[in-house]
C-alpha cells in the first residue's frame, strides 16, 4: 500500500444510497475535510453529492455525517477535519419515533 492509499478515508454508505456505489457498503476516498470527502465521493459515484447536499452546498436537513464517532454538525460542519484513515458514517435522521 502506498502513502496515498494509506490515507484513504473509509465511508459507510447508508442502505438507501447503495445504488450509487454498486451496493458497496464501505468505500474509500481521499479528503481532508467533510466537504472534500463529499466531493471525492461524488467524483467516484456521480450524483451522490446531491443526495447529501442541496445545490447551495449545505448539508441536507436530515443527513448526518459522523467522523470518528462525532457528529460533524456539532464540530465544524462541512469544514470538519477528517484525519487520514478516519471512518466516516453517512446516516439519515431517525424516522419512526
Amino acid at each position: 500500500m502506498n502513502a496515498v492509499e494509506s490515507k484513504a478515508v473509509r465511508v459507510n454508505i447508508p442502505r438507501a444510497l447503495l445504488n450509487r456505489t454498486g451496493n458497496q457498503r464501505w468505500v474509500e476516498v481521499h479528503g481532508a475535510t467533510i466537504r472534500e470527502v463529499i466531493n471525492a465521493l461524488d467524483a467516484a459515484y456521480p450524483g451522490l453529492k446531491f443526495n447529501l447536499c442541496f445545490e447551495t452546498g449545505e448539508l441536507r436537513q436530515f443527513v448526518n455525517i459522523f467522523v470518528q464517532g462525532e457528529d460533524a454538525r456539532a464540530l465544524q460542519g462541512l469544514d470538519t477535519p477528517v484525519p487520514p484513515g478516519a471512518t466516516v458514517y453517512l446516516i439519515h435522521s431517525i424516522a419512526g419515533g
Binding site: A16, L17, F50, E55, R60, V63, A95
Partner: protein, 366 residues
C-alpha cells in the same frame, strides 16, 4: 408486476406517501393493483406519456433529495436523467420538491414539463434526459415578492395550450395563475377577480393568490377552471378575468378539480372544511353539469358515517378519456374511488394504500 397490459387497458397511476401503485383494468369495474414501486419514497406525482410509453415519477425522498425518475417498462426499472432537475450551484435556490410532470403538446413529441418547489418550470426536450429551468419564470421581476403556501412555493399546475404552441399557463401556490404568450420568454400574472382573503388590506392583489389547481377546458381553449384556497373560478378569456363559480358549495376551500372530457361543461371538485376533510359525515364529490352555474352532490357509493373524515390532496382527483368518462378520487387515508358514469355512482377500487398524493389516468393505446 405485469408490464404487459393489453391495449385499451385503463391505467391509474397513484402516487402515495410510500411509493407508486399502478391500478389496471380492462372494464373499469375490476381492478388489479400492482406495486409498490419506488417503495419508501414519497411519490408526489407520476405520469405516463402516451406518445412513447415512458413513465415519469416525482420521487421526493424523506432524506436524500428529490429526483425525477423515468421508466420505459411500466415501473419495472427506473432511470435517473443524465442531467436532472438541479438548480445552478451559485443561484441560491435549492430543490425542495417536484410536484408535477406533464407531457408536451402533440407537436412537440419529445418535450416534457415539470413543476417544482421553489416555483420554477423545468423543460426537457429529449424525453426527460436533460432538464433546464425556464428562464423567463426563473428571473421574473416579481419573484422576490413571491411567498409560499403551506405546501411550499410550489409550481403544481402546468397547462400547455393545445391550441397555441406559444401559450401556456402555470399555477403557483401562493402566487396564482401566470401565462406566457411567447413560448415562455415572458410571463404575466392573471388573477383578476380571484380573492386572497388572507390579505386583510387587499383581497384582490395582482398576484399572491393561493391557487390550488388549474385545468384547461378540453374543447374550448380559452376556458380555464381553477380551485383556489379562496373559491372555485372559471375564466372564459384565457385567464384575463375570472368568474366565481362557488355558488352554493359549502366551502370555498379545496384542492382538486377534474373535468369530463365527453361533457365539457361537467366538472368535479371536492371542497373541505377547516379540518381539511369532508364537511359533514358524508364524503362528497361536487359536480357541475353546466359549467359552474349550479352544483350537485355526488355521493352514491361514497362512504358516510360519524367517523368518515376523508381528505383529498391537490392532485388527488382525475378523469380518463374513455366514454363515458371515468373519474377517480384518491384520499389521504389510502382509498381510491372510481366512477365510470361521470359521477352518478362510485365504487371503492383500492383500499389500504398509503396516503394518496396523486392519481393520473390513461387509456393505453393498442
Amino acid at each position: 408486476m405485469s408490464t404487459n397490459y393489453p391495449s385499451e387497458t385503463t391505467l391509474l397511476l397513484a402516487g402515495t406517501k410510500r411509493g407508486l401503485f399502478l391500478l389496471s383494468s380492462q372494464d373499469r369495474k375490476s381492478w388489479k393493483v400492482d406495486g409498490q414501486l419506488l417503495a419508501g419514497t414519497r411519490v408526489y406525482n407520476a405520469s405516463y406519456d402516451q406518445r412513447n410509453g415512458r413513465m415519469y415519477a416525482a420521487d421526493n425522498g424523506d432524506f436524500f433529495g428529490s429526483f425525477l425518475r423515468y421508466s420505459d417498462d411500466l415501473g419495472e426499472t427506473w432511470q435517473e436523467p443524465k442531467q436532472g432537475i438541479q438548480f445552478p450551484e451559485d443561484g441560491g435556490l435549492k430543490l425542495t420538491n417536484i410536484w408535477t410532470i406533464v407531457a408536451g403538446r402533440k407537436d412537440e413529441p419529445d418535450t416534457v414539463y415539470a413543476g417544482v418547489d421553489p416555483a420554477t418550470l423545468w423543460v426537457s426536450q429529449d424525453r426527460g434526459e436533460t432538464w433546464e429551468p425556464n428562464q423567463g419564470l426563473l428571473n421574473h421581476p416579481t419573484r422576490s415578492n413571491w411567498n409560499p403556501g403551506a405546501g411550499g412555493l410550489c409550481l403544481h399546475s402546468i397547462v400547455p395550450d393545445y391550441s397555441n404552441s406559444q401559450r401556456m399557463w402555470v399555477g403557483i401556490s401562493a402566487v396564482g395563475c401566470m401565462r406566457t404568450e411567447d413560448g415562455g420568454t415572458t410571463w404575466t400574472h392573471h388573477n383578476r377577480n380571484t380573492r386572497a382573503d388572507f390579505f386583510p388590506e387587499n383581497r384582490y392583489p395582482e398576484y399572491g393568490q393561493c391557487l390550488h389547481r388549474l385545468l384547461q377546458h378540453p374543447t374550448k381553449p380559452d376556458v380555464l377552471y381553477q380551485q383556489n384556497h379562496c373559491g372555485i373560478y372559471k375564466s372564459m378569456d384565457a385567464g384575463e378575468n375570472w368568474i366565481d363559480i362557488q355558488r352554493d358549495l359549502p366551502s370555498q376551500f379545496g384542492f382538486p378539480i377534474a373535468l369530463d372530457y365527453n361533457n365539457p361543461d361537467t366538472a368535479f371538485v371536492i371542497v373541505e372544511g377547516d379540518a381539511r376533510n369532508n364537511i359533514d359525515d358524508q364524503f362528497t364529490v361536487y359536480r357541475t353539469k353546466d359549467g359552474g352555474d349550479s352544483w350537485d352532490r355526488s355521493t352514491n357509493g361514497l362512504p358516510s358515517g360519524p367517523g368518515v373524515r376523508l381528505g383529498v390532496l391537490r392532485h388527488g382527483m382525475c378523469s380518463d378519456t374513455a366514454d363515458p368518462s371515468g373519474v377517480y378520487v384518491g384520499t389521504n387515508t389510502g382509498q381510491i374511488f372510481g366512477s365510470t358514469n361521470a359521477g352518478d355512482s362510485w365504487e371503492l377500487i383500492a383500499d389500504y394504500l398509503p396516503a394518496v398524493y396523486s392519481v393520473n389516468a390513461v387509456v393505453l393505446d393498442s
